[in-house]
Symmetry: C2
Subunit: 344 residues, 2 copies
Amino acid sequence: VTVVAVDAMGGDRAPAATVEGALVAARSGIEVALVGDSAVIQRELARIGATPPGVRLVHAPDAIEMGEHAALEARTRRGSSIYIGVQLVQRGEAAAFVSAGNTGAVFAIALLTLGRLAGIERPALGAVLPLPAGPTLLLDVGANAEVRASHLVQFARIGVAYMQAVGGIPAPTVGLLSIGEEPTKGSHVVIEAHAALATSGLRFIGNVEGRDVFAHRADVVVTDGFTGNAILKTAEGVIDVVFTEMRRVAAGSLPARIGALLMRPALRAMADRTDYRRYGAVPLLGVDGAVFVAHGRSDVQAITSAVVAAARAADRGMRDALARSVAVRDEEAGRTVTKLEERG
Amino acid sequence: VTVVAVDAMGGDRAPAATVEGALVAARSGIEVALVGDSAVIQRELARIGATPPGVRLVHAPDAIEMGEHAALEARTRRGSSIYIGVQLVQRGEAAAFVSAGNTGAVFAIALLTLGRLAGIERPALGAVLPLPAGPTLLLDVGANAEVRASHLVQFARIGVAYMQAVGGIPAPTVGLLSIGEEPTKGSHVVIEAHAALATSGLRFIGNVEGRDVFAHRADVVVTDGFTGNAILKTAEGVIDVVFTEMRRVAAGSLPARIGALLMRPALRAMADRTDYRRYGAVPLLGVDGAVFVAHGRSDVQAITSAVVAAARAADRGMRDALARSVAVRDEEAGRTVTKLEERG
């Protein structure tokens, strides 16, 4: 049975939504370790009522706040729910850790505690976009505001490995986000990355633009964490505006009101598919262990799907598959270098 | 009467859509100078039939292609419709120039021919987003893939001047795109720009994120051309996906089909408001003259609204207002520096 450690203290709606979300996941057969202030967690468990089997409680006396200047300082707070949750993964007591808490803190602690996979200099946050034509993994969506070309190539390798191992896509294609299709379009870093990806052995389809990301042009799209974050949040913002406007026009006339009523089930199904609460959570790719960051605004449903997604990824051997895949490629790259040296 | 020069040869659907779009605008009383191969334009005019008064033809023997490596080479092609169109503005024979052609070429030629406004090192492309809560000017959306902090401050100044002069907003607010609200979030350039904007005298509201842009948090949002382009195209892509999906679910069941039929007028009105064809065109901000770039895929309606928007901007004295506003601020900045030096 897969054990998923859940940060009970992280997120805008913690601990109510985190504890309840974890319990819903536990009812589907996932073992859950709730990490946080045990008095607080027990109060929530009492409020909810029946605690399903397979729920464990791991006390953490400290909690890292959302707004806090987390990244550097967080690493020293060894009593925090994030630190203790990541440690469960490091010790093999949990197959994955899920937190809706401070992303910077999770990132810093995971990096410190679990370390990086061989061949990866900069771990990244990846978001799986649930597009009608199929999922696209966009990375980085916020961990690295600035990157080098070599980091973008590493994002591509780790992203491909993830979509193979967890997404079940045999040979994922890779696109490089830029502002034009031509290899010479974009910033200096992007132009350099284009050249490196073209000879990487990956299934590189070239540059993709903002609109291509949502047309499922590639299985994996790589970009720096600043642009990726802007893209992800723009998508959220646009969807919000469209659905708000739709509600407004639906209330505007009698025929529209009746029409909206008739369309409601279909529209709701569609809205659900694009809802961030169904994204599960974004994997932290490149650290040596399965760590997932859920949306800060996660409600019960969002936490549940995050825990389910983390358990599924762990079941599919995410950690080993990624480590193996990146290591093999690293070795290949090593061999290529050796050959070139022999020739030289 | 305002004369708008229109690049008849630029865009995926030129010359048919450009000539016809310009004629529709001319019928509303705008004088139009069609710039391009006169034989080609005359053929289009003959096809369309009655040419309204106020339509002039300016021959340009050369046309710059869309895919071409335009920017540098374009400047030497003095017979191109873009070159000749920009020259009409420079000579005062046209109040504005509109092109759906190669953005890089328009940018390079406008910069060379018209020069920059005093105080502006890097002109930018600005997109006015037609949001339900009011328009937001996003800049840069593609002219400068890399920027310095001082450029972002200049984008803010010119953006505010544009929204005052053309948008009719007395005191526009400014947001800086970043990946978190805290002043310390983002790339080094963004962190530096935050500090500079905070003391700029502009109505700076701080960092805004991707989703805030579409919630109309600020009247003007500044970012580098790489991120701005990604945001704009992401918005287009997401809207495409949502409406495609909506058509799909609307066809999925009988109640949904009837509902869609009843909602159609309301949904169409809403779709129209978010349509790029209603954006008009994006102003090239910071060059000394009114130049607008329309979407490469512009159809007749898009060209018409671009010409109308350009004429309106010209009527409102865009060029002079911008030059005055930026120059005044530049002088103020100069005074501040002088004062600091006196103190020092």
